[in-house]
Amino acid sequence: MKTLLNSPMGIRWIKPVCFLSFLILGNFCFWGCSFVRTIEYPELILLNSNPVVSVRYEYENVQLNLSKQVLDGEPTAYRFSIFNNSDINSPLISKIFFPDDTITVMLPLNVLSIEDSANVAILIPQGDDFEIVENYFSIEQSGVIEFPTAYIRRKPVILVGNVSRRIGDTPIEGAKVQIIDSIGVVGSSETNNFGQFTIELPSPFKDRKDLNLTVSTAGKFSRWRNQIDFQGEKWLSQPVVIGPRALFVNQGMVYRVIQNNTPFREGPENGSPIRFFLSEGDIFVAEKVAGDQLFGRVEIPIDKNDYFQHFEGWIKNKYLNFIQ
């Protein structure tokens, strides 16, 4: 084998054993201790775990304030919740406030919708059957939103009904419907073109026993009146039928009484005993005429309109208006 030692260009005077020693010594001189240094792994040994990072967002905020005024009852607390209309089952925030707390919540601007009335703030008073207060709103920018004052009251008692004419069962529009107690009117309404009416009263009225319902029709028919009793419930339906029966008006010429407290007398002569007084709107069916007086009869509904009683007597012509 041709080596450095035996080649023509080699160093013939050095013995092979010495050459090996020189080679090792030379390497130590040149490399130092690193000549025998440890092998290094070519890659970083990484754990490949998820990086430790914290992300903190700062949003522009919207503060929502709601003031309240208790009209009826004593709520023990209030639940105030904000919803996005697109997900009415999951509140963006829901918080309990005690009666003396200021009702206010703060939300990041971006969680609220900018569409019209796309968000709703709902206040639910706790502790009784209170009305729920809802406020629909939209957001354009950060800041403070003050909702209108929430009036807290227990759910009202509601009277509904319809007023119709006895002949033909047609609805009466524009009838004035009132609930009165021993002091005066506590609630009123007017019938719509279907003859329907609704009257709301504060919750305590559900237990009142001194309530009466009256229906008046500006003199077209006699005033209707009946006692009502909610019997502790919050809803009552009361149909009202007014006017004379067809059977009654077919008995003669029909007149309407045009003045309250019109005397209905036993005889035509002056000073004849008065049976009773008629009201404006009462129907009088005449059989005969004597001077300025008419003889005929009136029909009085008894026992919630199921039974009628007829009375005969005399009325002065000036108190009547001919109908048919």
Binding site: T38, I39, E40, Y41, E43, L44, I45, L46, L47, N48, S49, P51, V52, V53, S54, V55, R56, Y57, E58, Y59, E60, P108, L109, N110
Partner: protein
């Protein structure tokens, strides 16, 4: 009219951007977002649209971080990264003919080798041929030397 719509479009985009601050411990790490250099931490007022980004942090003698980040709509966002240190660990053994594997992916057969390891708990597996003969957890929290000895049952 077209210019007006263009202006509104530009304004809408500019208002939707989120201002970001990137911090790291230790600081002075190089930051790249989607491959684009952004300088050294801490970095203030990077303005980005909400969306998905890849953030890379590198610092000498620390393990690099590659983080996929879904930026949400917000006024301001702060990202704070914790960088793990890299330590040199000398592995030494007198056992012959064994294969060594760290964390199921780094293999060697040498009896003495220097490893640059991220701080934390690593898993070492030792194989004789194809059969696993030993498995250990190694906790690295400083430069150290590991003298490995196979203890036979």
């Amino acid at each position: 009219m077209r210019n007006k719509f263009f202006l509104i479009f530009i304004l809408t985009i500019s208002f939707a951007k989120v201002s970001i601050r990137i911090e790291s411990n230790p600081h002075s790490a190089h930051v790249k977002i989607d491959g684009e250099p952004f300088g050294l931490t801490p970095i203030e007022n990077i303005s980005l649209l909400p969306g998905l980004y890849k953030i890379d942090l590198t610092l000498e003698e620390f393990a690099p971080i590659h983080y996929s980040f879904d930026l949400q709509t917000a006024g301001f966002a702060v990202l704070r990264f914790q960088l793990n240190r890299i330590y040199t660990v000398t592995f030494n053994t007198q056992e012959k003919g064994l294969n060594y594997e760290l964390d199921d992916q780094y293999n060697w057969i040498e009896e003495k080798i220097n490893l640059k390891m991220e701080e934390g708990i690593h898993n070492l597996k030792v194989f004789d041929g194809d059969s696993l003969v030993d498995e250990k957890e190694i906790w690295i929290n400083k430069p150290s030397k590991i003298f490995y000895e196979l203890i036979s049952n």
